[in-house]
Subunit: 509 residues, 2 copies
């Protein structure tokens, strides 16, 4: 069966983008390829519309995108254009020429559609049920309300980073008065949104767009971040304040050299950051989720799921499945490991006292424990950790992602420790990591032959006299028993402080 | 089409191993899965043969291996046994029971077959045309002669690390006399091999077996090694001397804590290392190739190719193809990038003066430049570098592997520098890296649409007035030209110190 691919084309004012998503079973997907081309459709735009050269650039890029899609083998193309084409007097002419050059009928998105689709993308990644999504673009900023994990309503404000920078031509090193004037303007605009008040106890805020993403990079470059993915990252209000202070206290030239700051954004990033800061202050947010997903992912999700893409537990399950489909080898083995590991978790609940949220992380890790095998068999447990943290797990927090990755790391070999992830974890997570690593390792070695020879486990807990693990088997499980004894029981004994005995309860076949 | 897999089973005296190789097209393969189980077939062996418990362990492990193969889906099983089964009086009985338990007819290898197959494995990895292969096992050591990249002849000597350790019971911290006596014994044995004299100018030595591999780990742990793979590693005679000195100057307990030394080998590693040292001294070798491949890879290669597996350029081409088949997406794009990059290399030979061996590395990098895409699109150039150095390239030296990996790293973004690989490279490699990165990057951006729109390039070199790159195109290549101009020409200008102009020579379609 040929792989299925969906391409999303997005002809923006400054940049044309082609993103190719590979589709997996049952709603799964990942980004497989991407081209960004600077098109500058707004450069030289007049009342007559886009300039001739701008149109030529746009059309040449669409022709390139078309060739790229042909070579890669794309089944569906979602081709869109946003503000420049929407606003230009010669937009219809551009659309006709685009059709001739590429065969694609570009869909021109309204600003509300753009905001809704951006939120759709965010909610396909950030675990946000209720609250605010702030999308800071170049020309405008969209503030959207989310309820029950869905877009509810929103407004578009003229608070884009580029627009504000051009409107308030600040000094090379901005003065306090200049910054104050910009702040007042931002707050005036925000005042017009009557529902934009303090977040309720369950409410959170998420942000997307280049400005917010760049604050994330600065944070990572300056203070480090233990995961290779930005998924799950949240920036604190305190750090937003510090980063703004850092940017505004220096000249443009020095600002461009601040670690993590993209020099191309050195001029406009202060304005964009101030919008974020004022919105966070107004809603009283101490932290803001940052989203890797945006408009293009929203377009894909809308195509696949309409207005109701997976969220919550469904999204989390899908994230695990995506990595398993993409990299995994033996799903049946992984499912048996999940079964055995959760049996141990349940039967020893009295000893470890971990709640159901941990059990779900154990299940995710059981499904993913072998995904690193795609990189090479040797050290595949370390590769699993790497692949999970490289891709991230949409719907999971950074803490949860780190725990799942650590569990896969320790499904064989070594003493479970959080290593560089310690700052992401809470105090209760450390014993949880040890307990669940022991369960996963027991399950892995009891599934040594990968054939379901150990069909079930049942623990009898004799309290201070230790515990007995009774195995149900289908055929000769002597090696499984022996391997679990040598390679997994020592960890379980060390974690529980109790003696562990294994015996075969009943043997089929 | 279902994936093809070959399993190799090797029931050794101490360990039973199952290795599953995945077959790719045209002789390609990689190790997909592995199980090692301690079976201790020799434990308690008498004149009547293997002990009852040892036989039971062996049979249980074979049953496990059988289940594993069934689940994984293996097409061919090459099941072998070595010295314990070969020597035991009840070997035939073991073979009968093995057949009943697993359905496999174990092939019992003679010591000469074992040596030949080990060499076959080594020659599938180490670029050795003529010289010596030394295989130091537990009971014996095989010294083989290689001519024209093939096994020529060899001897088996009673110089295994375990056997020597038991024969010469040295003190906890060995005395000089004890070490001298062991050395004399080794040399007496080596004297019996009349052809074992100084290596000729073209001759080299390669080693395999646990002792040699562990010396490699010690070297890496103590002095670092820039590549994640051990493939391509050579240990110097000087370092062998130093490591032996380090081991012999301390007690067994302290020896077990030497960085990189496997504590399980602390007792036997000195003896095994002395054998390597004396052989290297006798043949006057300043360095010894270490091999990751061994008997099991030799069994696979014998199965696939008989006595004549790929070597030299054929092996090198296969190594590249294996990574491309395993991880690559768009071979046709890669081939076009290879074509364009080598055209630039050839037309600018007068400027860079690089020889044909560099051109071959450029070709390999062109085929592999996108393999990192399997990990994720973002930073795929870095992922390509990682995957190449993680797996290694059989048939290539560490230096060549590092250069190919660096070229893929710099096929987009950044200024080519050797980074941590500097110690692997020669002085001429640094300008070569910059030149070839520029060619590869030009080729990549001229293939932006991945559709062969730029069909050819031709360089006219105007000397001090710069150079002109003439493009032949099939269709509109304006974006390719524009991207190459912005994203690749600056590097080429910086490397060449010359102005670079591009123009379209002729346009088809």
């Amino acid at each position: 069966m040929a792989p299925k691919r969906v391409a999303v084309v997005d002809m923006g004012s400054n940049t044309g983008r082609l993103v190719v998503f590979r589709l997996l079973g049952d709603g799964g997907w990942y980004l497989e390829d991407e081209i960004r081309e600077v098109v500058r459709l707004r450069a030289g735009m007049t009342a007559d519309g886009m300039a001739r050269q701008a149109v030529q650039r746009g059309i040449a890029v669409l022709r390139l995108f078309r060739r790229f899609c042909e070579n890669v083998g794309v089944d569906t193309v979602i081709a869109t254009a946003t503000s420049a084409v929407r606003d230009a007097a010669n937009g219809p002419d551009f659309l006709r020429r685009a059709r001739e050059a590429s065969g694609w009928e570009l869909r021109v998105l309204s600003s509300e559609e753009e905001a809704r689709l951006g939120v759709l993308g965010v909610l396909g990644e950030v675990p946000l049920e209720t609250g605010i999504v702030l999308d800071i673009g170049g020309g405008s900023a969209q503030v959207s309300r989310v309820r029950d994990g869905r877009w509810f309503d929103g407004v578009s404000l003229p608070l884009g980073a580029l627009r504000l920078t051009e409107l308030f031509r600040m000094s090379d090193t901005p003065t306090a008065d200049e910054v104050g004037a910009l702040r007042s303007h931002i707050n005036e605009m925000l005042d017009s949104v009557e529902w934009l008040g303090p977040l309720g106890p369950e409410e959170e805020i998420a942000g997307l767009g280049g400005s917010i993403r760049n604050l994330g990079y600065m944070e990572h470059a300056q203070l480090g971040w233990p995961l290779p993915t930005l998924r799950g990252f949240q920036i604190s209000a305190e750090r937003v304040d510090e980063l703004i202070e850092q940017m505004l206290s220096v000249s443009l030239a020095r600002r461009a050299r601040i670690p993590g700051l993209n020099p191309d954004r050195a001029d406009i990033l202060p304005a964009g950051s101030l919008v974020l800061q004022e919105v966070m202050r107004r809603v009283g947010a101490t932290r803001c989720h940052t989203s890797v997903n945006g408009l293009r992912e929203g377009l894909l999700l809308g195509h696949l799921h309409g207005d109701t893409p997976p969220k919550g537990d469904e999204l989390r399950a899908l994230s695990v499945d995506i990595l398993a489909w993409r990299y995994g080898l033996h799903r049946d083995h992984a499912e048996r490991v999940r079964h055995l590991a959760t049996r141990l978790f349940d039967d020893l609940a009295g000893r470890h006292g971990l709640d159901a949220s941990y059990r779900k992380l154990l299940e995710a890790a059981a499904i993913l424990h072998d995904v690193g095998g795609v990189l090479g068999y040797h050290d595949h447990h370390r590769h699993s950790q790497y692949l999970i943290t490289l891709n991230g797990l949409p719907g999971y927090t950074a803490r949860e992602t780190a725990l799942v990755a650590l569990l896969t790391r320790y499904h064989r070999k070594g003493t479970p420790t959080p290593g560089g992830y310690r700052r992401l974890l809470g105090g209760a997570d450390l014993p949880a990591l040890r307990w669940m690593s022991a369960f996963l390792r027991m399950a892995e070695y009891l599934e040594r032959g990968r054939r379901g020879t150990v069909t079930n486990v049942e623990v009898t807990d004799w309290g201070s006299r230790g515990m007995e693990i009774l195995l149900s088997t289908d055929g000769d499980a002597s090696v499984e028993e022996w391997d679990a004894e040598r390679r997994a029981v020592p960890l379980l004994e060390s974690v529980s402080g109790a003696r562990v005995r294994m015996s075969v309860l009943q043997s089929g076949a």
